[in-house]
Amino acid sequence: MTTATDIAEAQLKMPVRREPDIGHRLLHRTLKPLVGTPVNAVITLACLWILWLGAKGAYGWLVTRAVTEGGAQACKVGNGACWPFYEAKLRFMIFGVYPYDEQWRVLIAMILFLGAMGITMVPRFWSRQLLVLWGVTIAATAILIGGGVFGLSYVPTTQWSGLPLSFLLSAVGLAFGFPLGVVLALARSSTLPAIRVIAIIFIEVIRGVPLISILFMASVMLPLFMPSGVTVDKLLRAQIAIIIFAAAYIAEAVRGGLQAIPRGQHEAASAMGLHYWQAMRLVVLPQALKIAIPPLVNISIGFFQDTTLVTIIGLLDFLSTVRTAMTDPNWVGIAVLEGYVFAAFVFLVFSYGMGAYSRFLERRMRLGHD
């Protein structure tokens, strides 16, 4: 009769297959996906070749062939990165036509803004106090950039430009677009037909046309709709267009969240005696918005990039100041690649950072649910 002990003994007596040593195994594991089959080996070689070409080109352009000294003439002769261009134009590309001696104000405002962003992104700090933080940050930023009080000289909006303007347009657009978007999403899932239809028409019309057409509307048509004698600042008009556009997209993301909340939650809230707004504010929205966070972050990334479109209606956003720097009479035709590479790098850093944050949030939420 075989017992558990017998089996265990038999297993002990069995010859032990010798495992290949750890170095060998590791080598096998790394090499197999690379050169396991002939096709794979060819793909690997082709990839290595492309990576090598890319790395060589980038290194040559940035380092070995780079022009580090001399002015525009030296850069015209060389065919590498033109560092003197960055030296001469970096400050203009970032701050644009904001008064040169006052640019420290924008710098502080930007640091404040990015600091507040950083704090907001940490889930541990998510509370009502964030609203206070943002209230203070927005007030301080507005005072610093606009001036006119506390002995700071007044800077008209026509001189707000560069990277700060891009941040401003996207941040204010999202900050105002968010509540509007939530209201639109609630309206779209309302049981009242007239309100639902109005919300559907608004959202679908805005989402069905390109942002550029809404910007055109704001810059060309809006002045015609104002009563005589009332003029709206050009920057404000573009900002209104971006807010409206953002609201329509945010509304769809929030609606996705609302749809994921089971009916039982609404019914339970009603049974507790909560009326519509209480039920939404205390029960449904907190859950729906949490689900909608990852798509909302993706929308934010998109909007940060889409603010570049204000170039077309003549505002000096970051892309526009970079292009202006490139068409400076001293540098025209010399630093084409340099300007765009710098702008692309800045966008890449911020967008990739936000994207990585969005993936982090998704992972965190998955862990929270299961």
Partner: protein
């Protein structure tokens, strides 16, 4: 008195009454706002002496459009100019959609490759394209074409009779006539016939259980109509070859730098999004489906076509629709690099006539209409691939 007040309060607490009240308030305030804006507009337009109405559409446009697909000359009407703009928009969007889908499919599959280097390259491609604004890329591609390619006189001959220069790509072309259109229509007819024959054969196979070789019949149905059309119509098949003269290229068809930059920019940026969509679609099909298909004895290609793709498509189609739609809307960035699409033509028209409201209304309506058409088509396709439940 008291009773009335009571019933008034009660009415306010009546859910049905409240629902109607809210809706009346919402609709009423929108109507009032509309009337207010309308009165402002009419007053402003009267003050500034701007004409209203769409009468200008039949007046002579008088401006040049650098590249058009349909015949257009400056003596044509504004309406015709706007039509040329619409055709240009659709033309560049359609080609970009095709290119972006192919590229996106390839890169999306490459991201899932077991080869880590290939997956890394695909990852870099996607991230570099997704995290930088499309407008920046458009400016960059356009600047690269215009500044770093040689002038026409020193055009590179990259293939025999294919020239690349800073005024675009010049390729051999057919001189298009009516007979060619007939052949093209015959080709479309052949395609429809081919699909029909294939369907009939599949239905027969399913009902009888006999497999027969069907591809010769499909090929016949596909190729017979165009062959017949060519034999009957005898189209002029001489190809116009571009030749390099002393100062310019003669003959052939030219892809202008504006078109090329827009095409490349739109296709690349959309392909990054499509790659992510394809990847998540394939990942959404569980591993067990592969294993089950293998256990049934299906080869890898058949597994992909009959088991994996139909399930992945269900996940892929809805986001693919929205990425096609955003590509179509992004084609409006053409104005930044000077490709005469609908927005640019409308903009010129608005500057010449001063009728901004009509101009913007036209192009918003066209975009809205075409967006709705695209989403209707994709919704129809989606309902075909959607999960069929009881």
């Amino acid at each position: 008195m008291r009773v009335d007040a009571m019933s008034g309060t009660r009415l306010l607490y009546n859910l049905r009454f409240r629902a109607i009240l809210y809706q009346v308030i919402a609709v009423g305030s929108i109507v009032l706002l509309g009337l207010y804006l309308f009165s402002n507009v009419s007053q402003k337009l009267a003050e500034q002496n701007i004409a209203t109405g769409f009468g200008y559409l039949s007046r002579e446009a008088g401006f040049v459009i650098s590249q058009t697909l349909i015949d257009y000359k400056p003596t044509d009407t504004y309406g015709h100019a706007i039509l040329a703009g619409i055709v240009n928009t659709v033309w560049v969007s359609a080609w970009s959609v095709v290119l972006a889908t192919v590229l996106g499919l390839v890169v999306g599959i490459a991201r899932l490759s077991s080869n880590p280097l290939l997956a890394l390259l695909a990852f870099l491609y996607v991230e570099a394209l997704r995290n930088v604004p499309l407008l920046l890329y458009l400016f960059l591609w356009y600047a690269l074409i215009v500044t770093s390619l040689p002038a026409v006189r020193e055009a590179w001959e990259i293939l025999p009779h294919v020239f690349l220069s800073n005024s675009g790509l010049t390729v051999p072309s057919l001189v298009w006539t009516g007979t060619h259109t007939v052949v093209l229509l015959a080709l479309v007819l052949g395609g429809v016939l081919g699909v029909f024959v294939h369907r009939r054969a599949t239905a027969q196979r399913i009902s009888t259980g006999k497999t027969r070789m069907i591809w010769p019949w499909v090929a016949l149905a596909l190729l017979a109509p165009p062959m017949l059309a060519i034999l009957v119509m005898q189209p002029d098949l001489t190809v116009s070859l571009p030749e390099k003269g002393r100062f310019r290229l003669t003959g052939g068809a030219q892809l202008r730098p504006e078109f090329t930059a827009l095409l490349v920019g739109l296709a690349l940026s959309a392909s990054a999004g499509i790659a992510e969509i394809v990847r998540s679609g394939i990942l959404s099909v569980r591993k067990g489906q592969w294993e089950a298909a293998r256990a049934l004895g299906l080869r890898d290609g058949l597994t992909m076509r009959l088991v994996i793709l139909p399930q992945a498509l269900r996940v892929i189609i809805p986001p693919l629709t929205s990425s096609y739609l955003s590509l179509f809307k992004n084609s409006s960035l053409a104005i930044a690099i000077g490709y005469p699409d609908l927005v640019m033509v409308s903009n010129t028209t608005m500057n010449q006539t001063g009728q901004a409201i009509e101009g913007i209304a036209i192009f918003m309506l066209v975009y809205l209409g075409l967006s709705i058409l695209i989403s209707l088509f994709m919704n129809w396709y989606n309902s075909r691939v959607a999960l069929k439940e009881r």
